[in-house]
Structures are given as C-alpha cells and as structure tokens.
Subunit: 230 residues, 2 copies
DNA sequence: CCATAGTGATTCGTATACGATTTCGTACTC
DNA sequence: GAGTACGAAATCGTATACGAATCACTATGG
C-alpha cells in the first residue's frame, strides 16, 4: 500500500520495461521522487545516458516529459535541473493540490466502501501512534497512503492524474512540512478522522470537498505562519 | 484580445523563434488547436519534420511534450495521433475544467478591475448579438475571450496553466458544444452577466467559484442531455 | 587592483544513419 | 473460397557524430 500507483496518465503501465525512452523517464522520475536527485540538482544528459546505458536521445525525451509535468526545469542551451521548491512554488503547488485533491476526494467519496474506510482508519491510527516518537519521513509516507485511499477511486482520470502530479512535486521535499511544523501533525490526524466520518455518513459532495480542501489549506497556512517567524 | 496567451507554462515566451524543438512544438500545437490536424489525425514524424525543414529528433521532443499535455496520444512503435475527444474524454475534460476554471476565476476575482469588467461585458454583448444570425465558431471564440478576462488574473500560475491546457484540449472541436446545443448559448450569455455582477459586487470567493463552476457544468449537462437523444 | 577580452572545456542541439517493429498486401494451401 | 504464412514497405527507436552555445578561467591592459 505504500506504493502509490504512479499512473502518470500517459506512461505505459504494462509489465514490460518498454522503450529506452520510457525507462529513462521512469528512472529519472524515480530518482527525483525518492530524493536521490535533490532540488536544484543539475541533470547532465550525457551522464544520465551513460548511467542508464543508453544514448542521449531517449534521455532528452524523458526530460521533456518531466518538464511538462513540472518536475524538471529545462533551459535552452543551459541544461535541466530538478525544479526546486522555493517557498513560492511550494505555495502554488499546495494551493493547486488543495483544489484538485478536494475535488478528487469528493468525486471519490460515493465509491469508497467500508473496507477502504477501514484501511484508511488503520493508517490514520498508525499516524497517531507515530506522533509519539515522531518520525517525519514515516509520517509523511503514511499521510500519502491515507489520502491515496480517499482519492484513488476518483472516476475522472484527468483529475486523478493532476493529483498524482501534485503529490510528486511535493515528494521532492521528503519529510515535507511536518518536519518544520510539528504541531500541525496532531491536528492533521484529527482532521483525517473527521473526514472519514463525513464520507462514512454519506455527506454531500460539497461538504466533503470543502473539508478536504481546508485540510490541505490548513497545512499550508501552518507552514506560512511558521515561515514568517524565520 | 482574440489571441489567448498560449503561455503553456514551460514554453519560452520570448520573441525569438527559439530552438527547432520549440518551433516544432509551437507549430504542431497551433495546427492542432486551429483545427488543421483534426482529432485522430495521424502525426507521422518524418512528414512533419520535412514540412518544418528540420530533422525528426526535435519533432519527437515536441510530440512528447504535447503528449504530456494531453493533446496527442503516442503509442510505442505505432505513432502519434491527435487525441480525439470521444464523448467520455469530453466529459472528463469539461469536468476538470469546471473545477480548475472555477478556482481560477475565484482567485482572479479580487484582481479584476473596472476596465476588465467593461471589456468582458462588451464581449458578452457581442455574444448576445451573435445569437441572432448564429455563428458557432465566432460564438465559441468570443466565449473564450470572455472567460479569459475573468481568469487571466489568477495569481497562481499552475492553476492558470491547467486552465489553458483544458481550453486547448477543447479547442480541437472548434465550434464546440454550441453547434450541437444551440439552446445553451442563450442561457450562457445570461449566466455571464450574472457572473460579472457577482464579481463587481465583490461577492465572496466561494460564491464566485460555485457560479463559475456551475456555468460550465451546465454546458456539460446540456451536452449530455442532447447526446442522450441521438 | 579592477575590468575586460580571449581561450579552452563542457554541454547542449540537431542531422544523419541504421536496426527494429508494425502493417498491409499477396500468394499459397486446405 | 477462406484462412494463413510470407515478404515488402512504411514508420518508429536509438546510436553516433558534429556544430553551436555557454561557462569558467586566465591573461592583459588600464
């Protein structure tokens, strides 16, 4: 369950490795999301090509795709870098995600069964325990698992894809906000439970959407309040 | 004003033509949006390369970017085609756009000045006149102009980019729904005026967002109702 | 001592070339 | 006559090669 379906809309999801271009895409994307390539990292085409045992052409294509997804910044005759998240970018990404994820969750809600709720609740309990000997990385990962359960049923693949992209952007800063705003984690767990209750009781879509959106906005606000004091 | 800033996030907006890859991207995208390449059209790399006087490598990159934007479908060893809009895709795209555009409009609203309102209202009046000797293409274009005024001030570039992408997808079917659901056009104009009133009077963000979203959903619903009778 | 021009190294951008895969037509067999 | 196997043409996928742009460093002149 930890693995989030990477289902990036266009990628060939089948078992075969696929073209070199596809391999390069997956490989570089993985390294970015998992944190091997940190924000600002200079992506030298020739080097990546060598590492993967391919030529530069497929790598260029892969980079272009990642660029279109916003994971990479590509400047003419300069090169590609992992698009870092300066605070402004973080704000934009979180705001966008709040909207898109809110919608996805609301659309998903009617399709969420009792089993899903149970899974989500279990994850949330793990998070609650995790609050003691606080481990931001683990907490962030659980957080993603939790929300995945809520929005993965979204019947609109476009919206789902946007949500995934948002999470991917955020994945760059592994331990996320929770490292910086520990107080937020506690509220977060409570809001999760409230969200589950809403879904369980079949609250109307608008209510759920607002709750989901606010949940994320609150995280953003907490970050901003914290950032102000630096 | 007819020209919508194509500002596709990553494209180099400067005056210079840019790299061949960029040229190819712009050229193919333009042909798709303007309707030269209709949905389902087979994009043969070699042919496009020849047309543009470049080799296939830059064209491949361009196609890859368009793929990530959803304008093109690219299958391994098969080739690229302009991603048509089967009714399901249309539904997904419209739903996504309703959410994203609603948010963009709401975020934009506080930044919309009297001059903008006046411009939008003028466009809407043109649309109203256009209702007599109905010209779907012209109407659709005006419709885009109108909404552009409303959401272009959106301070979050990510959301704005998503809105642009949505409109681009839709642009494939030039004359849009209005050709199929003529009755809808009339309501649309009225809703536009209502939307302007809300913005003028400084209605709260939530109200504006809902109105904008509903305005689009209504168009979608009209289409669906119509489609059922075929 | 600072500013600037020159030079070399690095890396990107694109063309060309060739192997791999799919598609479609044709002929052959049952 | 229908179905299948074979082969040619079209198209994609990737490697290699070379020209072009950028950057860092040094040397020279003020």
């Amino acid at each position: 369950m930890t693995e989030m379906a990477t289902a990036a809309g266009t990628s060939s999801g089948n078992g075969t490795v696929g073209s070199k271009s596809e391999q390069a895409y997956q490989a570089v994307k993985a390294r970015i999301v998992e944190g091997t390539y940190t924000p600002g990292y200079r992506l030298v085409l020739a080097k990546i090509a060598e590492d993967l045992g391919v030529s530069v052409v497929p790598v260029r294509e892969a980079i272009r795709r990642l660029e279109a997804e916003g994971l990479v910044k590509f400047e003419r005759n300069i090169g590609a870098t992992v698009s870092g998240i300066d605070p402004t970018e973080y704000l934009y990404t979180m705001q966008t995600l709040s909207i898109v994820e809110g919608a996805a969750t609301a659309l998903s809600a009617p399709l969420i069964g009792a089993a899903d709720i149970a899974r989500a609740r279990a994850v949330n309990e793990e998070m609650r325990e995790c609050l003691q000997h606080f481990d931001p990385i683990r907490f962030t990962r659980l957080n993603q698992d939790f929300h995945s359960v809520l929005f993965e049923h979204c019947p609109n693949p476009h919206i789902l894809d946007l949500v995934h992209r948002g999470w991917n952007r955020l994945a760059s800063l592994r331990s996320s906000v929770f490292r910086f705003v520990p107080g937020r984690a506690h509220n977060s767990v409570d809001e999760h439970e409230a969200l589950l209750r809403l879904i369980e009781t079949g609250a109307d879509a608008d209510t759920i959407e607002k709750a989901a959106r606010l949940h994320r906005s609150a995280t953003l606000d907490a970050y901003l309040a914290q950032a102000k004091n630096l």
